[in-house]
């Protein structure tokens, strides 16, 4: 049932990785996502893909608050990479526990890059919106 083939989950919470995996299988989403614990790991993987000339992920579920490189910094880095590869289409959703107004406002600044902002825990409705 998936319209996505290559999915990145970028979140420092390992429990969340496990939950996403289970959510996917339960809802017959037959994809095994690649998991990264911070923005830097994910962006390095993306750069490697560009070097190798392979396709970029078509879906990224991105957490905001992570060590080393947070979600916002990842989006900044990713924007630059995308500019170099304008044909690539990657859909990004923010998935965070933060309901602070400053994060919600900041998400608006990035609305050209992100599809939507989901609060944790993710619901079945959220998943249906994505897939």
């Amino acid at each position: 049932m998936s319209k996505f083939k290559d999915v990145f989950v970028v979140d420092d919470d390992k429990v969340f990785h496990f939950i996403i995996k289970k959510l996917f299988t339960k809802n017959n989403i037959e994809i095994i996502p690649s998991f990264y614990v911070n923005g830097l790991e994910a962006i390095e993987k993306i750069k490697e893909k560009i070097r190798l000339g392979v396709n970029l992920p078509d879906l990224i579920l991105l957490d905001i608050n992570m060590p080393i490189m947070d979600g916002w910094q990842f989006l900044d880095e990713f924007r630059q990479t995308r500019e170099a590869n304008p044909d690539e289409q990657t859909v990004i959703y923010l998935v965070s526990s933060s309901d602070s107004q400053s994060d919600i406002n900041k998400a608006k600044e990035y609305q050209d890059q992100i599809q939507d902002y989901f609060f944790k825990p993710m619901t079945l409705e959220d998943l249906k919106k994505i897939f």
């Binding site: 420092d12 390992k14 969340f16 496990f18 939950i19 289970k22 933060s98 309901d99 602070s100 825990p121």
Partner: protein, 505 residues
Amino acid sequence: MEAYDYADLKLLEEKNNFYKKLLFQSPDLIFQFTISLEGKLHFPFLSKSVITHFDLTPDEKNSDAFSVLKSKILPEDYVGFLNSIEESRAFLRNWSHEYRARLPVKGLRWYKATATVEQSPNGSVNFFGKVTDVTDYKAQELKLKLSEQRFHFALEASSEGIWDLDVRTQKVFYSSQSMKMLQFEAKDTIDSIDMWDDRVHPMDKEKYLVDIQLHINNKTPYYENAQRVLTNSGEYKWILSRGKIIERDSKNRPLRIIGTHTDISGQKEKEQELMQTLEIVGAQNSRLLNFAHIVSHNLRSHSGNIEMLLDIIDEEEEQEMIDESFGHLRSSSNALTQTIDHLKELVEIQTELIHKRENLNLNKYLGKTLDILAEEINKNKVVIKNSISHEETITFNPAYLESVLLNFTSNAIKYSHPDRPPVISYSITTNHTQKILKITDNGLGINLEKHGKKLFGMYKTFHKNQDSRGIGLFITKNQIEAMGGTVAVKSQVGKGTTFKIYFNE
């Protein structure tokens, strides 16, 4: 017998008439009295005006002069009057005396009599002179004296100083209170505007001159300026200076400005204290707000996980999956507990009204900290450099001191540079009110431009990493501030970080 020319006689007569007129008809009260060798007093001459002014009857005119004087002069002044005449007579000295007389119609009047004193060949002494009614002048003088006394008393009694500037001469009168404010004695002559202006704090001078100019230009109804002024002892005092132009020339330029000085140092000090308190409260408030967001974020992320995991366990049939879910459940539950512990710790600092303070030996507490971290220190081959003397003490809460030292030291180890062995140095310096503990490392450093504002603000704890730097620093900062201290940081990326902790003694 001498013969006179007719013309001469004519001239003499004319002159005589002139003097007669002058003497008899002049409004001045002119008199001559004579004291004989026997001590008798009589008036050989009184101008018409004297007779009318003092309402003298023909009888009085010719009777004994003493009794006439006694009937007119106020009893209290009579003896003084006689004494002054006697003195002038005895020493043939010109006479001048002030006295009061009570007249039938005019009532009580003040007089001033002056006379030239001459002795005639027969030994009697003549007084030629005039009497002036000085009642109005005396009344004015009395009024002036009263108001001067009142003003003088007001100056002395008031806590405000008074200044009075003559713009043309640039001379100023400063009241003793103004002088006292600047710690000058009344004998010190401070009387030019420059002497004041030169003492105004450089930072306050521009506004002071602007404020006074505004009033000179009629833009303000009066002049008012709060300024720091250098006192004689070399310290600054806050003085509120106010004034008003009370006289201008025809071109509207000020001629005279009068004003007051009020010592507002105490008020200013309180104002500053209040500002500092507000700053601390404001910073604490914004940190608490931030903290509320973090708590909500972290609690939500853990409770969300727990909720999802329970759903999985409910629906899962495979034992292996259930076991794995329980493992995750446990770590989520642990993380939740840790978040709540942090919260508790923080609330304790914020609510504990009386923070226990003790005199603590700094080295003893540092030793304790290094013992706790011994394993980490050995593992990472950390070099500790301690230049704090064995006697050094600070006044602080013991539990907080442990926490502060532990936090800064463990951070220095955690964020050490991979290319070199970590070195952590401890030293202490003193300024006049504070002891400053310096903890320097040669670690990764922090990009303060990027993270400086957030360093103590716990933003970093947003991520769910167990050992995040932020919460520790946040708690540490709160503990230091609860003890009235402050903390500052300097850092260079790739070189290292120095934390300075200011302990209020």
